[in-house]
């Protein structure tokens, strides 16, 4: 029992609809540890990121050491331990986008919002990130704003779209 109290994280609420969603997924996967990544996808989909207490909850449900869950989460780029922001701006830095000026867009974002890739504004409104290649190379340079792919974009147009969506001026 000691190991349970050794982890200084708060308990999740069983009535939280997001936890219910995760619980349903775990049940669907028959509590199999090999479905860990699928379950993490569900959890991140529900929360937008992976809070520590949720990881502990998943570890217990799958009977895995929390360290195993943590090591898996930190291995994959897709998973994030902190909030990515209410609105996200993901700049593709695949080769085609790189050749066509992804860096200029990143520079502009830093200048305008003071955000480097991986950073979020203090009010959590906007997060900037980079993607390896989103496979829209024909539309380079491409930027994904809140899941909408914007192709052949200029840095100025991106700033405008972000301002529209987030209300940051």
């Amino acid at each position: 029992m000691k190991s349970d109290t050794a982890v200084p994280v708060k308990e999740v609420s069983k009535t939280d609809p997001r936890i219910k969603l995760i619980a349903a997924r775990i049940k669907k996967e028959n509590y199999k540890p090999d479905a860990l990544i699928e379950i993490l996808h569900t959890a991140q989909g529900a929360y937008g990121y992976l809070p520590k207490e949720v990881l502990v909850y998943i570890a217990k449900a799958l009977k895995l050491p929390p360290s195993r869950v943590f090591s898996t989460v930190t291995f994959y780029h897709f998973f994030s331990l902190k909030s990515k922001g209410d609105h996200t701006c993901i700049v593709c830095t695949g080769t085609a986008c790189y050749v066509k000026g992804a860096q200029a867009i990143l520079n502009k974002l830093e200048k305008e919002f003071g955000l480097k890739p991986g950073q979020v504004t203090t009010d959590n409104k906007l997060g900037v990130a980079v993607a390896r290649c989103i496979g829209a190379c024909g539309l380079a340079p491409a930027v994904v704003i809140d899941n909408d792919v914007q192709g052949k974009v200029s840095a100025d147009a991106i700033i405008e779209t972000i301002n529209e969506k987030t209300g940051i001026v």
């Binding site: 390896r132 290649c133 024909g138």
Partner: protein, 546 residues
């Protein structure tokens, strides 16, 4: 559904399609969607209804048609006329001209803004004329959401043929005869791989489809999964029958939500019709497929790392042997093939291995899909016979370099490949020729660069990629990529000396030879190939002694 019911259903579907005089395909590939093709599709449906044409005109969403940067694309069949940059405003003019006035609308024809005389029949355009589509055939003509559409073009006939008319040995022999090699990049003979897995005796074997397309600049697997998911599914089932597996996994990148959605839907549809699951088409063969979603790790394209990821673990590679063919997923014999490889299997079974081997070169049979991007006029997805020259791809198909600039290099094989300079424009695109130039075929990404590209920076870009993506398991890759990256950066900043350059070259060889998996072993390739073909750029940046 049992066997004769499949034939009956296929007949019925074809009959139903023949009642339409026209079929309008709206490209809903990832590129066209982000240019607004879904709105065009909705508007087109309204337009057809408003004009009372819904009895004779069928409107469908399709997968990628190819010329991605001209989108949204709308294709009229049977005329095979493609319109580019269609939006909700100019759509009416297209419908009026094409369907009512019965003449093509010249100013919106594909490539109308760049060709003197655009083609009414798109197949006549050099972009398509020089292509030969096998893996991508039907992609862009059928609705990926509809299994009926796939049946109408002969879908699941190859599976039917394999199960009922061929033994597993015959299926394998057909694949061997086709001489197809793995399209994921390494080019291992597919038939041989199948035979090896077949020979291992085990209570359980697995088929894995590798859809973890991680190379930046490559998007063919995405387009196949999004545009023709059933083809991949059918081929996976054929592979299962051949090697004796009853379970398959499709490992698809998390960055491709549409591909995941369409593939999962395809699995459901096929299951409902009895084309997957227990006793397929009434035979003794049972096969199930499950999707596994990647979580953003380039190294998971490596087969042992991919297997670890399917098992829910960190995706770190293992030393080989044992190869997955002997001990793969959960220690069982496992066959892993790339999406594009699977896309060619069903046609091979249907038309015969010999038919496939007639295309391409002596050592590289068949066709290869390339993703054209960078400073090229017509970027997009093409499929050409192996052995087509780089010049043909860049200039005849791709329409040359943007703004009439001078060609400098083409990068193939992503972070594992290399750059091909202008003096080798006539190189034949096949596994051996690319290797001899210090590049690789890789998955088929082809990034064109013009004179404005700094090759030292290109090498640094790819090294940074490998450094970030190194899983950290083996030291040569984990430490070596970091050291090489810092040295290239130092050269780029003009702070390096000749000693640094010598050390860099020495390191590259060490990392290449001592890394555990393909990621590390090929990480020095972009550096070595730019050093080989553009050494003067490095030389000009290093400080001269004294």
């Amino acid at each position: 559904m049992i066997r004769h019911e499949l034939q009956a259903l296929t007949g019925k579907v074809r009959e139903k399609q023949q009642q339409y005089k026209h079929r309008i395909c709206v490209c809903c590939g990832a590129s066209c969607i982000s240019s607004g093709s879904e709105e065009v599709l909705n508007k087109l449906n309204e337009e057809i209804k408003a004009r009372g044409l819904e009895e004779t005109v069928e409107v469908i969403p399709t997968g990628c048609m190819g010329p991605c940067n001209q989108g949204p694309l709308v294709k009229y069949l049977p005329e095979n006329t493609i319109y580019q940059k269609v939006d909700c405003e100019n759509l009416q003019r297209v419908v009026q001209s094409q369907l009512i006035d019965k003449k093509p609308l010249e100013d919106l024809l594909l490539f109308a803004d760049s060709r003197e005389k655009p083609f009414v029949d798109a197949a006549e355009d050099p972009f398509f004329k020089r292509q030969q589509k096998i893996a991508l055939k039907d992609c862009g003509d059928i609705n990926p959401d509809s299994i009926e559409d796939y049946l109408a073009v002969g879908g699941y006939q190859a599976l039917d043929k394999a199960i009922f008319l061929m033994s597993p040995e015959e299926v394998i022999s057909e694949v061997k005869q086709s001489r197809i090699r793995g399209r994921g990049g390494a080019g291992y003979p597919t038939g041989l791989k199948w035979e090896t897995v077949y020979k291992y005796v085990s209570d359980q074997k697995y088929v894995i489809c590798n859809g973890d397309e991680g190379d930046p600049g490559a998007f063919m697997d995405r387009s196949v999964l999004e545009g023709n998911p059933h083809r991949v599914l059918e081929s996976m089932a054929i592979a299962g029958y051949a090697i004796g597996a009853s379970k398959g996994y499709a490992y698809i990148r998390g960055e491709y939500p549409l591909a995941i959605k369409r593939f999962e839907q395809a699995i459901k549809q096929a299951g409902k019709l009895g084309l997957l699951g227990k006793n397929i088409l009434g035979s003794n063969f049972s096969f199930d497929v499950e999707v596994r979603i990647g979580a953003g790790a380039f190294v998971c394209g490596e087969e042992t790392a991919l297997i670890a990821s399917i098992e829910g673990k960190r995706g770190t590679p293992k030393p080989r042997p044992p190869f997955p063919a002997e001990s793969g997923l959960w220690g069982k014999p496992t066959l892993i093939n790339n999406v594009e490889t699977f896309a060619a299997i069903a046609p091979i079974i249907l038309n015969g291995g010999e038919w496939y081997s007639e295309t391409g070169t002596a050592k590289s049979a068949g066709t290869k899909v390339f993703a054209l991007a960078g400073k090229i006029n017509y970027s997009g997805l093409i499929e050409v016979p192996m052995g087509t020259s780089l010049r043909e791809i860049v200039f005849d198909i791709g329409g040359g370099i943007q703004h009439g600039a001078e060609f400098k290099a083409a990068q193939t094989g992503g972070p594992s490949g290399g750059c091909i300079p202008a003096e080798h424009l006539d190189v034949k695109m096949d596994y051996e020729s690319l290797m001899s130039l210090g590049s690789i075929m890789g998955s088929g990404g082809l990034i064109v660069m013009d004179k404005s590209s700094d090759m030292v920076d290109v090498a640094r870009y790819f090294m940074e990629f490998c450094m970030d993506e190194s899983c950290g398991k083996c030291i040569p890759c984990r430490v070596g990529t970091k050291m090489m990256h810092d040295l290239i950066q130092k050269i780029g900043e003009r702070k390096a000396t000749r000693i640094d350059l010598d050390r860099l070259e020495e390191l590259a060889v060490y990392v290449k030879e001592t890394s555990l998996c393909g990621l590390g072993a090929s990480a020095p390739n972009p550096l070595l190939s730019t050093l080989r073909h553009f050494r003067e750029e490095y030389e000009s940046k290093i400080q001269q002694e004294g």
